[in-house]
């Protein structure tokens, strides 16, 4: 199996606080990998290092075997590493059409065009239309994002990440805050991602994790506690103790 995304001895400190401790993760190509851990375990810090928002103090990050530790955020995206945010990071004043249009333009290398009107490339338009349809956003494509219901915004958040055609997709709590009635759309979208896309899921919702992931890493205090298939992780007494409390997990 080839490794899609790998960290080697990743280390991150904020002042005297070690938030990531000697973390070595290997995520196989096409995997549905979940990263779980209690609050404050440093999950989001790991994501921020993977995507380039934060620089690790030491250690390396490899994307499909290439060292991307020192690449800025946007260059990682163009290499096929895309993410969603735990809290929606969208453009309040822009429409879903514009938001997705930007991501598609940027990936196809037309994002810097200043002499051409938006919407004049049929290849870009076609992709935008497909994505809008796939994420049930066609009917609201001209509404300002800030006016959309939360569920739609959440779908847009994921659509934007997919618009970058990632080979590795980082999903940071995709269903967080979504009302029960709209969860289905999101889970369906996440479930229908093509198999060649590697997914790293950060999630609190255990049902989602155990139904989705084929491999789970448990992060505690910034260090890797255990990694394995869901059944093994669910049975592990250490995991139960630190993360799941006394609650039993049925798989």
């Amino acid at each position: 199996m080839t490794i899609a995304l790998e960290t080697q001895n990743l280390e991150k400190q904020f002042g005297g606080l070690r938030v990531t401790r000697d973390l070595s993760l290997r995520i196989e190509q096409g995997a549905r990998h979940a990263l779980i851990g209690p609050n404050g375990a440093g999950k989001t810090t790991v994501i921020n290092q993977l995507t380039g928002v934060l620089k690790p103090n030491s250690g390396r990050i490899l994307l499909e075997g290439e060292d991307i530790t020192d690449l800025p955020v946007h260059k990682r995206v163009l290499r096929g590493l895309s993410r969603t945010f735990q809290i929606n990071q969208l453009y309040p004043d822009l429409t879903p059409l514009e938001t997705i249009g930007l991501a598609v333009s940027e990936r196809l290398g037309h994002g810097g065009d200043w002499w051409r009107r938006m919407g004049t490339r049929s290849d870009v338009n076609g992709e935008i239309a497909d994505l809008l349809a796939r994420f049930h956003l066609l009917d609201v494509m001209n509404e300002q994002t800030v006016t959309l219901p939360y569920g739609k915004q959440r779908l847009l958040e994921i659509a934007v990440a997919i618009a970058a055609k990632p080979r590795v997709l980082l999903l940071d709590e995709p269903a967080a805050g979504v009302p029960e009635s709209e969860r289905h759309d999101i889970l369906a979208v996440v479930g229908s991602l093509p198999r060649d896309v590697t997914v790293l899921l950060i999630e609190h919702d255990m049902d989602l994790v155990f139904s989705f992931a084929d491999r789970i890493s448990v992060l505690v205090s910034g260090a890797l506690l255990i990694e394995g298939p869901p059944e093994q992780v669910a049975r592990d007494p250490q995991v139960k103790a630190v993360y799941l409390g006394e609650e039993a997990v049925n798989v």
């Binding site: 995507t51 955020v73 946007h74 995206v77 514009e98 333009s105």
Partner: protein
Amino acid sequence: MSASSDVGYHAQRQARWHYGEVAFWLIVLACGFAFPTRYLIMTDILRLALFAMSLDLVLGYAGIVSLGHAAFFGVGAYAAGLLALHGIINEPVLALIVAGLAAMVLGFATSFLVIRGVDLTRLMVTLGIALLLEALAERFSNITGGTDGLQGIEMQPIFGEIPFDMFGKAGFFYSLAVLFVLFLFARRVVHSPFGLSLRAIKNNPLRAAAIGIPVNRRLIAIYTLAAFYAGIAGALFTQTTAIASLDVFAFERSADLMLVLVIGGTGYLYGGLIGAVVFRLLQELFSTITPQYWQFWIGLVLVVIVLVGRQRLHRWVLYVPNLIIKQIAGRKAVVAVPESDA
């Protein structure tokens, strides 16, 4: 594919010309013929409008605040003055472009300082650069004429054909032509993928980077372009008034520009133009009524604008024109004022 062409249609929605815009420019052109005794102030308004459009490009689209935009205005003004004074480039249009490029070089060089940091640092850095240049211009008085400014500038005819006349008619139409051409260019740029990516950066730089937008490079590009625009505005100032003095760098010039955009609004290109007209007219009006206290009244107007909200004011102002446009061209043509900073 219908959904695809639908997307294309809607994506270009804002880039299409509206009736209101055409009407706006026709009215501006008509002013040139309607008020033959007012060329000087109208030219002044055009220069201010161009200068404000420059700030709107960085502030309204990219979200970069600046209190030192006069730096570029000043460089453009002195460059145009020196070119004409020493007879280096006698043709005004060519000199204008060269002066704009000089400001652009400064814009590019200082953009690296400006894109680092947050709003407050940007205010200070831009302010500092303008003050620095003002001091330099004063220090090197052998080049700039110091506090006396550049004197004895004689402008050659435009394209070697159209001389600047003493009533300022040529200057007005020259400035209008420059403003319109640069407006068309800016309009093209802001409705391009590049322009949209600027709005994305203004909205959410974190997400912008996370979809692959090279944030810094885009900010440098627009800041440099805006410097070019401001330099052109400064060069127009020198060319149409035949003077360049230290006050082209003055802090008041940068601060006024902010007021213009507060009045006119940002992020739809017309804010600077409308704001410039209103600002100068208010200034005229108040200084006629109370020569000593006009600044008090300007201040009061600004407070009212901020409290009442510009959008509501715009709706009131546009109420009658829209009523007429609706009658002629139907409901869809009404002039809406998109506000990115409301």
